[in-house]
């Protein structure tokens, strides 16, 4: 009898998120006949792509028991720098590569303070949050960068095999992240460090380098998301990405990754981002005023965590 209960629990723990998403989809399609249409589904996927990319990077950091609050500001910084280089005459590919390199470098900057100076990730990236924002504003004097070459339009509005390019970028980045986390020694080291850092060190894992990697990866994710956003807006705003870090963290935790590290994965994060995206979309379709939307979103995050707690309670 107890066996049956445990199996049921594990089933729920494993597929509960997907079930929750399905339930949401069913409810919303009953409430609005515009919801379950091909164009709306693609619309939702495109809307979540930026958050999902940032959240994938965030997942890596959080599994290693870190946090990265600087991603929203870094998105703005890499966006304006990349866009300015392109406007200034560099080939679009080079400008984009430079922006991604900058994201990586700033991630390394965060990671170095965490891994080598031993400062708490929360503090380091909180500093990063204001520093990168300040740099983005100073670099552009507070003005948006526009007049971009057509390559950016392709990123924002192009499509391939019937799917918009942002969705492809999101899927590609999620797959790469999944492979790194699950199938590489580096990824498994991230889990080990999040689960028990001392044990990881004693096992001969180069803990500092791995921690550095997690932040660098998150920086790269922010820069990739930034290129997508720049393409969508066809301009780069130094004020873009405010509070994006919170949406990303929400997707990660709703997706079942533990803030205490060592557990979780990027598949859950995708579902988390979808749940949040579907709710946003549904409320828009139902004309829920935006003030109430925020309340609902917060409520969903709490509910997801509450359910996850109830399901995993007493499991060890």
């Amino acid at each position: 009898m107890s066996l049956a209960r445990i199996n049921w629990r594990e089933l729920l723990a494993r597929f509960g998120l997907v079930l929750a998403l399905l339930a949401l989809v069913i409810i919303l399609s009953a409430m609005s006949d515009r919801f379950l249409t091909q164009s709306n589904i693609i619309n939702v996927l495109r809307q979540i792509s930026i958050n999902a990319i940032i959240a994938a990077g965030m997942t890596v950091v959080i599994i290693g028991r870190g946090i990265d609050l600087s991603v929203g500001s870094l998105l703005a910084l890499t966006g304006v720098v990349g866009a300015s280089l392109a406007v200034g005459g560099l080939p679009a590919g080079v400008a984009i590569a430079a922006a991604l390199g900058l994201g990586l470098a700033m991630g390394v900057f965060n990671g170095a303070f965490v891994a080598y100076a031993g400062i708490a990730p929360f503090i380091v990236t909180l500093a990063g949050l204001t520093i990168f924002r300040g740099m983005a504003l100073a670099f552009t004097d507070g003005r948006p960068v526009s007049g971009l070459p057509p390559a950016f339009m392709t990123i924002g509005y192009g499509s391939f095999l019937g799917l918009p390019v942002p969705i492809w970028i999101m899927l590609g980045f999620l797959v790469v992240t999944h492979v790194i986390l699950r199938y590489t020694a580096l990824g498994r080291a991230v889990y080990a460090i999040g689960g028990n850092e001392e044990a990881a060190r004693l096992s001969g894992i180069p803990v500092r380098r791995v921690v550095l990697f997690t932040f660098a990866y998150s920086g790269l994710a922010a820069a990739i998301a930034s290129m997508v956003l720049t393409g969508r807006l066809n301009s780069a705003q130094p004020s873009a990405g405010v509070m994006f870090e919170l949406d990303a963290i929400a997707a990660v935790v709703v997706g079942g990754t533990s803030l205490f590290g060592g557990k979780g994965g990027v598949f859950g994060t995708l579902i988390g981002a979808l749940i949040i995206g579907v709710i946003n979309n549904g409320m828009n379709l139902l004309n829920v005023p935006s003030f109430y939307q925020q309340i609902v979103k917060g409520g969903v995050i709490l509910t997801a965590l509450l359910i996850e707690r109830l399901v995993s309670a007493r499991r060890t």
């Binding site: 080291a189 689960g195 044990a199 894992i205």
Partner: protein, 483 residues
């Protein structure tokens, strides 16, 4: 020439001198025991060898070359592998992944990983699904996983820091077979243990440390237990004998059960010590966590114990077997840890009474001879044995009616053991009822008023004093069944 030699190794931690000019040599293919009381510096010396921490002074030679390891990776690259006293596995990862932690190939092939994991586990006779999360294993199983992991690295120096502390006698036998095997293949083994009978069974040489200094190295064939104990403590230790007692007042009855444990009823009398014997996996190791409301289901005098809070309210306290993860907040001071379970009593109108807190910690530090006797020291700075004293003191401070002791002297040296036994004896003579779960048969024989033997998830025998050592072992191992 020796495979490895350490010369004049010193190490200080702030004001504490952990090691002072210690020399140590290791021959190829020998088993070298390292003994000494808690805090003698055994773990520190070996951690220096394994690259966990650098020495302040001194130098090392390995295979004729001067070496200085600045990280665990470097030591492992030269073939030095250590199984730590404090378990060092990642609880959220699977057994297979823990086995290859730090040595995973760049891309992980889970099928191959599982197959290799099974082979390694078979070497230590552990038949587990390699996908099991480590968090679900018992301490003894974890210890065996760690040993399998060390074997997987195929080093030429294998350091085992109190490997048998959590193992029952059959697992110990298995470990000794493994040690004999790796020794035959030319590997040198450093064996740290507080159990001298093991040292005399397995070791070729024995080195004794006392207060961070080398006392001497002896060939095992040319020495005896008394001599080694004398080297360790500098004087002789009295052996603990338990007088017979009468059972009178019934304190209550436990009924516990769990997935791997059939329902058991245990009635406890005031002042009684009931010993629980059994190998790991026999169900014995499940009883106390159940009784404390951590897992399974438990009733005490027909009231359900669903959580540690219920248990504590009913006057039941547990001294858990894994001090690092369950017993202590290692970042806090000794005093803070000692007061954790008695916060209610130590406050007035919500404010901690500093005087009472200090008095309580002084009392227990003295009663258990904690070293160093400093209430403000952080717990992680103490040696393993002294940490265990803090856990026990914390539980005792609540003045419980029933004390559950899970491997109470795991990693505690001879001298400190005797002190702990005195404390336990004193408590039972004041009417406290105790349930003692232990892998150490001698400890059970010395302390218990009766012994329940567990095998295959149930009680298979109840033994009364006077005990016959061999009979108890026969029951525990199931050899009784064969006769």
């Amino acid at each position: 020439m020796a495979l490895l030699s350490m010369h004049g190794v010193s190490k200080r931690f702030g004001a504490v001198t952990a090691l002072q000019g210690v020399d140590f040599t290791l021959e190829a293919g020998e088993v070298h025991a390292l003994v000494g009381e808690n805090g003698a510096g055994k773990s520190t010396l070996m951690k220096i060898l394994a690259g966990v921490q650098p020495p302040d002074e001194g130098h090392m030679q390995l295979g004729g070359d001067d070496v200085r390891f600045s990280s665990v990776q470097e030591a492992q690259a030269r073939g030095v592998v250590m199984v730590y006293q404090e378990l060092a596995l990642v609880p959220t990862l699977s057994v297979a992944e823990n086995l290859f932690l730090g040595r995973l190939p760049r891309f992980v092939d889970y099928g191959a990983l599982r197959t290799r994991a099974r082979t390694l586990l078979a070497q230590v006779d552990l038949h587990l699904d390699p996908d099991t999360e480590v968090a679900r294993l018992s301490i003894g199983e974890r210890q065996l996983v760690e040993i399998a992991r060390a074997l997987a690295r195929e080093g030429r120096v294998l350091i085992l820091d109190e490997p048998t502390a959590a193992l029952a006698s059959t697992e110990t036998d298995r470990l000794f077979e493994i040690i004999t095997r790796v020794k035959a293949s030319g590997v040198s083994v450093v064996y740290i243990s507080h159990r001298l009978e093991e040292v005399f069974r397995i070791a070729d040489r024995v080195t004794v440390l006392r207060d961070g200094a080398l006392v001497g190295t002896r060939t095992v064939a040319d020495t005896n237990a008394e001599q080694v104990i004398e080297m360790m403590v500098g004087s002789s230790v009295h052996r603990y004998e338990r007088p017979a007692r009468v059972r009178e007042r019934v304190v209550g009855t436990f009924e516990v059960t769990e997935r791997d444990l059939r329902p058991v009823r245990i009635t406890l009398h005031a002042g009684e010590i009931v010993g629980l014997a059994g190998v790991i996996g026999s169900g014995r190791e499940r009883v106390l966590p159940c009784a404390f409301g951590l897992r399974g289901s438990a009733r005490w005098n027909d009231a359900a114990i669903g959580s540690p809070r219920d248990a504590i309210k009913a006057g039941i306290v547990l001294v858990p077997s894994d001090r690092k993860t369950q017993g202590l907040v290692v970042g806090l001071s000794v005093e803070a840890n000692l007061s954790l379970a008695t916060l209610g009593r130590l406050q007035r109108f919500g404010f901690m009474r500093a005087g009472a807190v200090r008095a309580q910690s002084r009392h227990w530090i003295e009663r258990l001879s904690l070293r160093p006797p400093d209430p403000d020291k952080a717990v992680w700075e103490l040696s393993g044995g002294n940490q265990q004293k803090v856990v026990i003191a914390k539980a005792l401070a609540t003045e419980p009616e029933v004390l559950l002791l899970d491997e109470p002297t795991r990693g505690v040296d001879v001298g400190a053991r005797a002190e702990l036994y005195d404390v336990i004896d004193d408590l039972s003579s004041r009417g406290l009822a105790l349930l003692l779960s232990s892998s150490d048969t001698e400890e059970l024989l010395g302390l218990s008023d009766r012994i329940l033997v567990f095998r295959e998830g149930r009680v298979t025998a109840e033994l009364q004093p006077p005990y016959d050592y061999e009979e108890v072992v026969a029951h525990v191992t199931g050899a009784h069944q064969l006769a």
